[in-house]
């Protein structure tokens, strides 16, 4: 077998494995989410299908495959079918670029499906394609609620994509590379990025929630206003594919956060004392960190109410964007003039910024809720209670 063919086959194998792993995670994620939410709301959740409800995802899958696949008469046939496929395609593709271990650590192979020098940039690019699934789905349904929902949600996604891109600039300055492996190795040497970029991480976290359309940013699916947003006219497997895309995006977002800010595939070094070499086990650490962030997604969903649309857009444009720029310039100024003092003062600065933001959140909220344009409504409408700060 020639070398390139072997390489191709191995890549294919890894791709299929990753895709299957993602889909399984998605299936059980739905179950875990329902059980956890039930627990938070003092009820039981699905527990009938199999022990502890463990077969529930299987039942759901079978149901959505055997359901009638409706296509409303006014839909644009081609695009209507294409939209969920695009959504899931982009969602699954994005995950393949994330390294689950150092090069060559997976039975002599690299533990990622593809590796681009652009690293995080390539991932942002693929994520930015995700907006098409939702937009086209809503448009092609040929119905009003989906159209409104998709328009809103595309505006939301592009707005928060900015916050996402800008909030990692400080990180890129510190590392000086966009490749995931370099970012992880930098953290192995200097400590987790979240320490030095706590403000950047907070902004990135919020943007991620908005990018994957999760509570408190799940406006596209605001039942009270838009029925089910872009999903209204979808049923059976196509609906399931959209759902799948959302959850896979969530997993990818968790993986990105873990890789960029929490040391990626490397475990904490202090455990080395107990079990030598434990911090460089491949895959385990990444999976643990992803699980943590997935739990966070569910937790937040069980805790926070939804934003109103105008609050959402204001939050993105008037708070997140300037803050991300400020974080970037803070890091830039620090690196330019005080690099000699080591990295810890920067960590302190960043943390102080974040704490100040939290402490002043009432003040900030009033500030950003105030209309800035001349003659745009009255000046003194009260700050409303918000979903999240």
């Amino acid at each position: 077998m020639p070398d390139w063919l072997a390489a191709l086959l191995i890549t294919l194998l890894k791709g299929v494995l990753v895709a299957l792993a993602l889909l399984t995670t998605f299936a059980y994620m739905t179950l875990i989410e329902r059980r956890l939410l039930a627990r938070m709301q003092i009820r039981l959740g699905p527990n009938r299908v199999g022990p502890l409800g463990l077969l529930q995802p299987l039942a759901d899958a079978i149901k959505s495959i055997f359901k009638e696949d409706l296509r409303v008469t006014m839909a644009d046939k081609l695009v209507y079918t294409m939209a969920p496929i695009v959504a899931i395609g982009m969602a699954l593709t994005a995950f393949g670029g994330i390294p689950a271990g150092p090069p060559g650590s997976l039975f002599g192979e690299n533990p990622w499906v593809y590796q681009l020098d652009a690293g995080i940039l390539a991932l942002l690019a693929i994520t930015s394609m995700g907006v098409y699934g939702i937009f086209l789905g809503g448009w092609a349904s040929g119905s009003k609620y989906p159209l409104l929902g998709s328009l809103r949600s595309s505006a939301q996604m592009i707005s928060y994509e900015l916050g996402m891109g800008l909030s990692i600039l400080g990180l890129l300055m510190l590392v000086g590379s966009t490749a995931f492996v370099n970012i992880v190795e930098w953290q192995a040497q200097n400590g987790w990025m979240v320490l030095f970029q706590s403000l950047g991480f907070a902004l990135f976290l919020v943007s991620s929630f908005a990018e994957v359309n999760r509570t408190p940013f799940d406006l596209p699916e605001a039942e009270q206003e838009l029925v089910a947003g872009y999903l209204t006219e979808y049923s059976a497997i196509k609906w399931a594919l959209f759902q799948m895309a959302e959850y896979v995006n969530m997993i990818t977002a968790s993986a990105i956060m873990a890789t960029l800010f929490f040391g990626g595939y490397r475990g904490p070094v202090f455990l080395e004392g107990l079990v030598p070499g434990i911090s460089s086990w491949p895959i385990v650490w990444l999976v643990l960190k992803i699980a943590f962030f997935l739990f966070l997604f569910i937790w937040v969903r069980g805790t926070l109410p939804r934003f109103r649309y105008d609050q959402l857009m204001r939050f993105g444009w008037k708070l997140l964007l300037p803050l991300a720029l400020a974080n970037t310039m803070l890091t830039a100024a620090y690196l330019a003039f005080a690099r000699g003092a080591g990295l810890w003062p920067l960590a302190l600065l960043s943390l102080l910024g974040l704490l100040a933001l939290l402490a002043l959140s009432d003040r900030v909220r009033v500030l950003w809720n105030q209309p800035t344009g001349r003659g745009a409504a009255d000046d003194s409408f009260p700050a409303r209670p918000l979903g999240g700060d």
Binding site: D76, L78, V79, L116, D117, A118, L121, A122, L124, A125, I126, S128, M129, V131, Y132, F135, L136, W139, L147, L151, S154, I158, E161, G165, L172, G176, S177, T178, A179, E223, Q224, E225, V227, A228, R308, Y309, D310, G373, R374, G375, A376
Partner: protein, 195 residues
């Protein structure tokens, strides 16, 4: 080489769809396909930064704007009727033939003065770092000029959608952006039907 042929073919298919589609949204989607294929070409030429930016900016931003505008102008339906500009088809045809001829001449007469390896060595793998260094040293002025350009774009975009001032004293002229029906729950009475 196989990747190049494949991506090139995809780009062409997308371009043909863009031109031939009767539905503006389908045309836009064809364009997305072309842009993505071009990004793939960049990536296969190991200009990974350029590829990522191509996707982020062109396919991810500009085409979204196109789609929004198509929505906004309600332009999905094929436009029927005569071209408003006389002879536009003939002129476009002539222009196309000239362009194709020029490209053909270049393609067949161009002799690469540098070997490809030497040409791409300057790119240093086309990573963001290499691009950044060049951008901040050799192309400093254009780089800063871009920010001025973007500033102009912001002002232009806002000015475009401004409504003309309704009254001469112009107190309330700034808010030129109409937002009907943005917030159902603010106008709707309490206790609506919940799903």
């Amino acid at each position: 080489m196989i990747a190049f042929l494949l991506l090139g073919a995809l780009a062409l298919v997308g371009a043909v769809v863009t031109v031939a589609a009767r539905n503006a949204v389908h045309a836009a989607l064809g364009l997305v396909g072309t842009l993505l294929s071009v990004a793939g070409l960049f990536a296969s030429l190991s200009a990974s930064f350029l590829a990522a930016v191509q996707v982020i900016v062109y396919a991810g931003a500009i085409l979204v704007l196109f789609l929004f505008v198509i929505m906004l102008l309600n332009a999905h339906q094929p436009v029927t009727g005569r071209d408003p500009v006389p002879f536009v088809r003939e002129l476009a045809g002539i222009g196309g033939v000239i362009l194709a001829g020029a490209l053909a001449v270049i393609a067949f007469s161009y002799r690469d003065p540098q070997p490809l390896a030497q040409g791409t060595a300057a790119l240093r793998g086309g990573t963001a770092g290499a691009v950044g260094e060049t951008l901040l040293t050799r192309f400093l002025l254009p780089f800063e000029a871009v920010s001025v350009l973007l500033l102009v774009a912001i002002v232009g975009a806002v000015a475009l959608v401004r409504r003309p001032a309704p009254q001469p004293d112009g107190v309330t002229d700034a808010e030129g952006v109409a937002l009907p029906g943005e917030l159902p729950e603010r106008t709707a009475p309490e206790g609506g039907v919940r799903a």
